[in-house]
Point group: C2
């Protein structure tokens, strides 16, 4: 192998990774798997694709080693291969946001618009929660909460949010979070909470960002 051939081989491998991420459905899959492992037909319905198509996309991701699998009975559960992959997806999002005006437009219209208050930063949140100053609410589906959540956070999937409100006092500030800056769950939760008279704001970013920032994560149901 000459120098040029070695170089070509390397760039070919780099491109292989990017190519695997080069389809909208596959980026969405990676994003979902950043939350929790999932079965094939779960992913298919979450992304509105057919199962066979989903399976094909998953094979592409698997051949690029971006995801791994384990069997559970008749189901095959897919997960991200490691945190480096999650970091890569975040980097991809960041480039898109920095470079594509269209992304900024969609974000303005559909995500930030829902909530005009400044989001809360990660800084010092845990301490404030421990002191009882704020309550942290995880509004993602239960599986995702179980796969990893901010220590001390209460699970309140958006659909069941109203029934779980009784535990909360209107005095204490509520900080809601979900999957990240492009997830609508937390903004919607905040809107609902405000209508009910609570003091609520959303956390900037969501779970994978929290974990990749090196902050502590709790696992398991409540």
């Amino acid at each position: 192998m000459t120098g040029r051939e070695a170089k070509d081989a390397l760039y070919e491998h780099f491109a292989r990774i990017a190519k695997a991420a080069g389809h909208a459905t596959r980026v969405e899959i990676l994003d979902l798997l950043g939350q929790a492992e999932r079965g094939v037909d779960e992913l298919a319905s979450l992304t509105a694709t057919r199962v066979t198509t989903m399976s094909a996309h998953l094979q592409v991701l698997r051949q690029a080693r971006l995801v791994e699998t384990r069997r559970e009975g008749t189901r095959v559960l897919y997960r991200l291969a490691d945190d480096e992959v999650a970091r890569f997806v975040l980097s991809l999002r960041d480039v898109a946001r920095a470079r594509l005006a269209e992304v900024q437009q969609v974000v303005r219209d559909y995500f930030e618009g829902a909530d005009d208050l400044e989001p809360v930063s990660r800084e010092g949140l845990l301490e404030r929660a421990e002191s009882g100053d704020v309550v942290i609410l995880d509004v993602r589906p239960e599986e995702e909460f179980a796969a990893g959540h901010i220590p001390g956070a209460l699970s309140a999937p958006l659909g069941e949010l109203e029934t779980r409100l009784r535990r909360l006092r209107k005095r204490t500030e509520i900080v809601a979070y979900c999957r990240g800056p492009y997830c609508v769950l937390a903004p919607q939760a905040v809107a609902l909470l405000r209508r009910k008279g609570f003091k609520a704001r959303r956390l900037e970013d969501g779970m994978p960002e929290w974990r990749l920032a090196g902050l502590p994560v709790a696992v398991g149901e409540e």
Copy 2:
């Protein structure tokens, strides 16, 4: 636009970035532009492709807004659009290295093998250079040195390395760097220097990593 449509639009844009990076030649282009801006036929000869093919690849990168251009006389100079893009390319490399055993193999055979000594870390290098403890050698082509180098480093393109050796004493340690961990220039320089009886090691990583780590960069010729 419904929620699903907004989501689809977002993922489509994310995928657009990844797709643009999804070709070996284009990754190599991004890598080269991380060093310095370049004209089209320069890039073509550096990557061993024809000019028309190169131009087509550059259009793809430009439409994804990963690169920008400026005209200089009859030439069109391409550059990375911003540091976020450079970070993305590094992230892509990191995933490939972490996930693809083939990459690790190529690296072992062609890059690290050339130099068995532990590379020098960025930590404290500037201080040691200022105190005269080490000499930093930039062995990349001159244009790349001019576009940005470690403050205090001497430019010594590999081809002219031998003629520039006279300035150096065999006592002081030499630290050579180039484009990054997958660049052969620094390992080759180190090998040459050792044959001549110098104490030489290479810097871990290269220029874009140095800059993105927030360390100071000097611009201009010597």
